[in-house]
């Protein structure tokens, strides 16, 4: 299983051709040299490898997930994996040579289109690492575009995203504040927010623009965009977010899919790859990477970002997911997620929990358990194979539903909760 096709005879022939006795002659200038083999375990056959790793994977315990908080359990149609496992998509490189990469580029163009339509924006790029770093890049972009150093963050941003934003801002010398003034480069709001609330952001958008700041909306559960007003329609200059809900497994946190979409006036400032349509010398339509002068391999220290490798295959997977689900499929995912969440919320209220959302919510909501009971509730749920939500402390739980939570599990959740409280 070493995947080295050259035989001993080949190697001898090659060494003779080069004019050396052994490979050691080629690496003699390398210092300092290791005298012994690396202290790693012995090599494994494919059979041994699969057995060991299957055993390791079985030390994990999968649960019935009633949790979101940045990562969502949606159904992924079987065809997605089959298509992205095709060697043509899986083993290709970044499409710098477009004549060899029309497959990747065609899918990228479709991805960019899907993101624009869903967010209501003009231009999207081909992907960033994940939603949190996409948000950070948008903040850096705003600061550079406006020549200002202050970032306003609306409360309701996922706390992990806030930490990432803070890390990037510290590196770049930007400050995060809750003051809106003439030094504010951008105003950031998450929608639906961390607590599930669907916000009317028209007012905030106007306030941002009044001070000359850019308005950034961050969408972490984008299946919501199937039924909610797109941010492009309420004043967003930049929309960033996480595409994991579109056909990517939860995968213990990654690889995920960051996206960024902007209004036309900003497109030359965005980081990452952009695919554009053009023609070849015979007039046939084709695709190329374009506006590469923004990127590190050309602009170097003046580049809009240092990003190179992004998550192209995840973008292709999402494109395929969106194509397989279609408009009606995507709307039904959203309606199913929304209705199950509201059904569970009502049932939990009826057994003694308090609903804390003051605004309409999408598929996540906070419940307040009676004093001192939330830890026991979550622990009893866990004992029954249910991850009942994200523990916010002070007996508050952030709970999520999707089309993957059947009524019978919702019913178990409620009855276990009821038993625990009484």
């Amino acid at each position: 299983m070493d995947f080295i096709p050259t035989t001993d005879a080949d190697k001898q022939y090659m060494l003779n051709q080069i004019g050396v006795k052994s490979v050691d002659d080629l690496i003699q200038i390398l210092k300092p040299r290791l005298q012994d083999k690396l202290d790693l375990s012995r090599p494994l056959s494919e059979l041994e490898l699969v057995n060991q790793l299957r055993f390791l994977s079985q030390k994990n315990k999968l649960l019935k997930y009633f949790i979101g908080a940045g990562s969502y359990n949606h159904y992924i149609p079987a065809a997605v994996a089959h298509l992205i496992l095709r060697g043509e998509f899986l083993t290709g490189y970044t499409p710098y040579q477009p004549e060899m990469s029309q497959g990747t580029l065609h899918a990228m163009y479709e991805f960019q289109t899907y993101i624009c339509i869903l967010t209501g924006m003009d231009v999207s790029n081909g992907s960033l690492y994940d939603g949190s770093s996409a948000l950070a890049e948008a903040a850096l972009l705003s600061s550079s575009y406006k020549g200002r150093n202050s970032i306003f963050v609306s409360k309701g941003l996922n706390p992990e995203y806030f930490k990432v934003l803070k890390t990037y801002c510290e590196g770049a010398g930007l400050i995060i504040t809750n003051v809106l003034n003439e030094d504010t480069a951008c105003v950031i709001a998450q929608n639906p927010d961390f607590y599930g609330n669907i916000e009317n952001l028209q007012y905030l958008s106007e306030q941002a623009h009044k001070t000359g700041a850019l308005f950034i909306v961050c969408v972490i559960e984008p299946t919501s965009l199937a039924i909610l007003e797109p941010p492009g329609n309420y004043g967003a200059d930049i929309v960033v977010g996480e595409g994991q809900s579109f056909g990517l497994p939860m995968n213990f946190g990654g690889p995920y899919l960051g996206f960024i979409a902007v209004k036309n006036f900003l497109f030359k400032k965005i980081p990452g790859r952009i695919c554009g349509m053009t023609t070849d010398i015979n007039g046939n339509k084709g695709f190329v990477l374009t506006f590469q002068a923004r990127e590190q391999h050309i602009r170097r220290e003046k580049a809009t970002s240092n990003i190179t490798t992004n998550v192209a295959l995840m973008a292709i997977a999402s494109t395929i997911y969106l194509s397989l689900m279609g408009r009606t499929g995507l709307v039904s995912v959203a309606e199913s997620s929304y209705s199950r969440a509201h059904y569970l919320r009502d049932k939990l209220e009826s057994v003694g929990l308090t609903s804390l959302n003051t605004k309409p919510f999408y598929n996540e909501f906070i419940m307040q358990a009676p004093f001192g009971t939330s830890k026991r509730i979550l622990s009893n749920l866990l004992g029954n194979g249910i991850l009942g939500g994200y523990d916010l402390g002070e007996d508050k739980m952030l709970i999520c539903c999707t089309e993957m939570n059947p009524i019978k599990d919702i019913t178990s959740f409620v009855s276990i909760t009821k038993e625990t409280i009484t």
């Binding site: 022939y13 390398l30 790793l53 079985q58 999968l62 992990e160 009317n200 023609t279 046939n284 602009r299």
Partner: protein, 490 residues
């Protein structure tokens, strides 16, 4: 080829893929039905969603056909320098898709995550062994993000050491563009040091540039010319005497596995590209993973959480107060970590053979081509080498790369590193056969001949791909970056 938006279908059967028939019983559908979000207040509801509705057979056919327009390692040779386009083992795809790994929510209880936490911990140990570093972060999603992390950590370190005057980063003139781009993102200035006649960093000019305002030196070893830095020990010695840290861009680690450890060369930080050296698939531009290794004195600055072992149990540790923060939501590209872990476990302590064969293949291919192209530096190469096609004139590297497509090969990296005119950077990797190397060399020799006899013909290539030479100028002049739905008159 049509866009997915241009099919004239209106299949509405997709909802069946997410229906749960149990829920259709006992009036459950009615119960849920009353929650369908019609009329959310304040105009929060979307008015229209102009997405296509295409049947599954059509979708599968569509993406299968466009995949045929792509070239990949599975089709043939992909000699891109510094990209390490080696075979992507399929068993790693199966392992990454094991239910227990793929379908685990990241915020699950630690007791339920022991398999994945153990994998991350063991991977960190193996990367430490391979590089000699004392700790690794598995968080960065790519080499560039790891560089960003490393530079941020260096900045935080110097701030704590009361050395805020260190505002500059030294890079060689052969550096990859991400190095200066990263420096800028952290508000550092770059000082560029030229290479000498042997292709090494000019150690005299380097010494001169080493003032007390230099925070970091970012080097690639072997460098982007495919050459080992002959003076690396002197360079790191000089840097350390000046209180400057040494950063290794580990993109070229495929030349050093089991042969030398970057820590022994004097590096304080190193990033490894798991999608290069450690075989995870490129996927047309990612996902990858750019793990960052550091020496002990920098360990406390690593992003949180860290995976630690406590009495045989694996846990996430969030306590380190000197940490620079976190680079992403959750822990990193776990799916890619699984693939790299699997690759390292399969090679085990024989992993030196990867690098030895990579170096052998590169030197053999170089020996076949050294009389047909200019070789800028008269030395054995590491796992890759740079040729110049300048004898064929301006833009010849571009024309040669397009003509190579007609011979069934993906071109090498061109116009990089910047210090070689008409550069062709070639990295065969260890997973190529002697036959392939010979065929590739013959193709280049043929094209060299064609260039002499019929240069205009070469300049018009490619002729045998699905598409001819694409007009990149027009793409920028008349941007068309998305399809737009036709406006429906209301």
């Amino acid at each position: 080829m049509k866009l997915i938006f241009e099919y004239n279908e209106n299949d509405s059967q997709h909802i069946s893929s997410i229906q749960d028939l149990d829920d259709n019983e006992n009036n459950n559908v009615e119960r849920l039905g009353k929650y369908i979000p019609v009329g959310l207040p304040n105009g929060l509801l979307r008015k229209e969603l102009p997405l296509p509705n295409v049947s599954e057979p059509t979708v599968v056919r569509h993406y299968t056909n466009i995949s045929h327009l792509n070239y990949g390692i599975d089709m043939g040779f992909y000699p891109l320098g510094s990209c390490t386009m080696k075979y992507n083992p399929r068993v790693n795809e199966d392992i990454a898709r094991l239910d227990g790994f793929q379908n685990l929510h990241p915020l699950s209880h630690e007791d339920c995550n022991q398999g994945s936490l153990q994998l991350m911990w063991e991977l960190e140990q193996d990367l430490k062994t391979i590089t000699g570093m004392d700790a690794f972060s598995l968080q960065p999603a790519a080499g560039a993000q790891a560089e960003l992390l490393g530079v941020m950590m260096a900045k935080a370190y110097f701030r704590r050491e009361h050395q805020k005057q260190r505002t500059k980063i030294i890079i060689p003139d052969s550096a990859h563009g991400t190095n200066p781009a990263t420096a800028s993102m952290c508000r550092f200035k770059t000082i560029t040091i030229p290479s000498d006649t042997r292709g090494n960093l000019d150690i005299y000019k380097f010494g001169q540039a080493l003032q007390d305002d230099v925070a970091l030196v970012m080097l690639t070893n072997p460098n982007t010319l495919g050459l080992f830095e002959e003076n690396i020990l002197e360079i790191s010695d000089l840097a350390h005497k000046n209180g400057t840290l040494m950063y290794c861009d580990g993109a070229n680690m495929n030349a050093m596995l089991g042969i030398t450890k970057p820590a022994d060369q004097g590096f304080d930080l190193i990033h490894l590209n798991l999608h290069k050296t450690f075989s995870t698939p490129h996927g047309g531009g990612g996902p990858g993973a750019g793990t960052l290794g550091v020496r002990t004195f920098l360990k406390d600055y690593l992003p949180l959480p860290r995976v630690i072992k406590n009495d045989g149990k694996y846990v996430f540790d969030y306590t380190q107060r000197k940490s620079i923060g976190t680079m992403r939501f959750c822990y990193g590209n776990f799916g890619m970590l699984v693939r790299a872990y699997s690759y390292i476990k399969s090679w085990g302590n024989n992993i030196r053979n990867v690098s030895k064969n990579a170096i052998l293949n590169a030197n053999y291919l170089l020996s076949l081509l050294k009389n047909d192209f200019e070789v800028p530096y008269d030395r054995s190469c590491a796992h890759e080498f740079v040729l110049s096609s300048k004898r064929f004139g301006d833009k010849s590297a571009m024309y040669i790369s397009k003509r190579l497509m007609d011979y069934g090969f993906h071109p090498p990296t061109i116009y990089f590193p910047l210090i070689v005119r008409e550069a062709l950077m070639i990295e065969p990797t260890e997973t190529e056969s002697k036959e392939t190397l010979v065929k590739f060399a013959s193709a280049l020799k043929c094209i060299a001949q064609e260039f002499k006899e019929k240069p205009d013909f070469v300049k018009g290539s490619p002729y045998t791909r699905h598409i001819g030479r694409l007009d990149e100028v027009a793409a920028a002049r008349k941007p068309n970056l998305r399809w737009t739905p036709p406006i429906h008159p209301d």
